[in-house]
């Protein structure tokens, strides 16, 4: 489903990803852990196609397509979703309007019929119940004045509404209270299926108790330095990145 080979990418002329390899099979959930500044968010941005994040070497193949040939919105329509580490505020645009525009833009790009208002409303009602998002919040401008946790829940609600083939969650668990953490994890698990994979970036093993990953990777200095099953996360929690890094070297 996702095949990243020898990926080198730089930001503002500085190389951040230095030969990264990552293979995900359909339906798998992979976790990426790693020290601050290792390049986790950079990887997420490169996968999403952000301007200024230049791939200088290597390849990214997604469901048989060369992802590097698609622009940001085309990648989204192809099924790449990124839950931002720091979600942006969009003043004056009601959350509901934003969501509807996004859902229909993706459908249109895929040559599907746009969703009519009642069906869309039903979809959002169902999802917002799942993520305990109140109607009131859907009427407010997207993320404007939302608390940190509310923003994160809104990211996952967007994910659920868009049903991406690959959901990349960049530290979605940071700043969440215990209940929110469970709600978010349930949302990710609900989407989990042979057609829906997830790449979960996190600093905490705790999230992985709820979203049990098939594979755990350690990203350090722009490379995947170690991969393993879910026990790797426990190991990291116990010994820290230092040990792994020296291990790998």
């Amino acid at each position: 489903m996702l095949e990243v080979r020898n990926l080198h990418a730089s930001v503002g002329g500085t190389e951040i990803l230095k030969g990264l390899n990552l293979t995900m099979k359909p339906g798998e959930v992979h976790a990426i852990m790693g020290p601050n500044g290792a390049g986790k968010s950079t990887l997420a941005y490169v996968l999403a196609g952000r301007d200024g994040y230049d791939v200088t070497e290597g390849s990214i193949s997604f469901c048989g397509q060369d992802l590097c040939k698609l622009n940001v919105d085309e990648r989204a329509a192809a099924g790449v979703f990124l839950a931002f580490q720091y979600p942006l505020e969009i003043p004056g645009v009601p959350t509901m309007t934003f969501l509807r525009t996004a859902v229909n833009a993706q459908r249109k790009a895929r040559g599907e019929k746009e969703m009519d208002a009642p069906s869309f409303l039903r979809l959002i009602r169902e999802k917002s119940k799942m993520f305990k998002v109140e109607d009131k919040m859907l009427k407010r401008p997207l993320n404007v004045g939302f608390s940190g946790g509310e923003k994160k829940r809104m990211e996952v609600l967007q994910m659920a509404a868009l049903e991406p083939k690959l959901a990349i969650l960049d530290e979605t668990d940071s700043g969440l209270d215990i209940d929110s953490l469970r709600i978010v994890a349930e949302g990710v698990n609900a989407l989990r299926s042979p057609d829906h994979s997830a790449l979960v970036i996190t600093h905490y093993q705790r999230l992985l108790d709820y979203i049990v990953p098939d594979v755990v990777h350690v990203l350090a200095d722009g490379r995947i330095v170690k991969s393993g099953d879910k026990t790797l996360a426990l190991e990291l929690e116990e010994h820290g990145y230092e040990a792994i890094a020296t291990d790998a070297a």
Binding site: V72, A76, L82, P91
Partner: protein, 485 residues
Amino acid sequence: MSQVDEKVEDLQDNAGDKYKYGFVTDIETEKAPKGLSRETVRFISAKKNEPEWMLEWRLEAFERWLQMEEPTWPKVTYPEIDFQDAYYYAAPKSNDDRPKSLDEVDPELLRTYEKLGIPLIEQQMLAGVAVDAVFDSVSVVTTFKERLAEDGVIFCPISEALQSHPELVRKYLGTVVPQSDNFYAALNSAVFSDGSCVYIPKGVRCPMELSTYFRINEAETGQFERTLIIAEEGAYCSYLEGCTAPQRDENQLHAAVVELVILKDAEIKYSTVQNWYPGNADGEGGIYNFVTKRADCRGDNAKVSWTQVETGSAVTWKYPSCILRGDNSVGEFYSIAITNNHQQADTGTKMIHLGKNTSSRIISKGISAGKSQSTYRGLVSAHKRAANARNYTQCDSLLIGDTCGAHTVPYIEVNNPSVMIEHEATTSKISEEQLFYTRQRGIDEEAAVALIVNGFCREVMQQLPMEFAVEAQKLVAISLEGSVG
């Protein structure tokens, strides 16, 4: 709303060619001889079979105009206008004896308005919206007149009002915007052709939205509309005007005057969706939109609200103003001005506080893209007598790209110590991060810009009558096409 939605779809499908109203209607017209002279003024007045006093009033305005100079203070530049090189009157021949009913209207004209998304057949129209359709220099049809007459509401072309209610027109015409108010108002007073006249009697809440749709069709022809609205004590009406013109290489002049008279406890809500042809991407062609609009709150507790969505025209020069004469009267100005390519807009408002406890609110949203220039120019003045007057001004500019300009020029004159004036201004750019975030949800770049810009304008959009808000939002998107990437 279903009709609106359909119309909107229509707009969207046509979004590819930027200005979808650029067609010309092939219709036989009668014109005044080219140029501007006393004879031109007499010709127009005679064409409309006006009373003698009206002709004299026009001639007086013309004399004044000859003494006046074109204003140079707006922050706009354009080649000198040759006022002798234009026609000041053009009317479809088929309109000679103004049709009494829709069946008598030239089908070609009906088709034109249908193409513009304004069906004039009453059954097909938006329920609850009466339309006066002005084509070049004349009104071709006004709908729902009888229904409105039941409530005593007069809604007709001003040329017709001069026949049917001459005393009403005589009493109010030029009392808000005097003949010699400014260069273009004087010109308009001399050669105005058509526009709407509305009268809402005492205590009546107008049962429908009133709207006038202005269309310039003839080449080398100026349009000089004149609109007069009177709300008697305790009356209310909501009025909307829309404007389009064919796509042409040469510039055309549109110099309108709008006068609103608002008596005690009355309210007028006046909305404009201005989409005159803006010229092409290289700045060739387009309408010069030089407009004087003013409301006079003559009685206590009178209220006026101007809402404008200005997306068209090559050059816009327009300051809808409020004279807050009555105590406790309220003036509001909500504006969205979008300029793209080589468009120039110098627009804003004047809030003249004369009465006690008067209050005004100005919300201006300027969006500039391409090589355009946008200026907010606003005056807030409070007279000695205007104790406790209040004004709140918020002026936000949004820049798209770095070849455009936005300017804010506020003027404040306060002559009473109890007056409170608040002014806030911001200038921002659409951030790369916001665009990335929006596009990451599958929304393409142009749609993302439109979405963010519409969010930026929301406060003003919300002031528009529901029927038109959706269309205005789509217009924002269309106006900004080609501004990114």
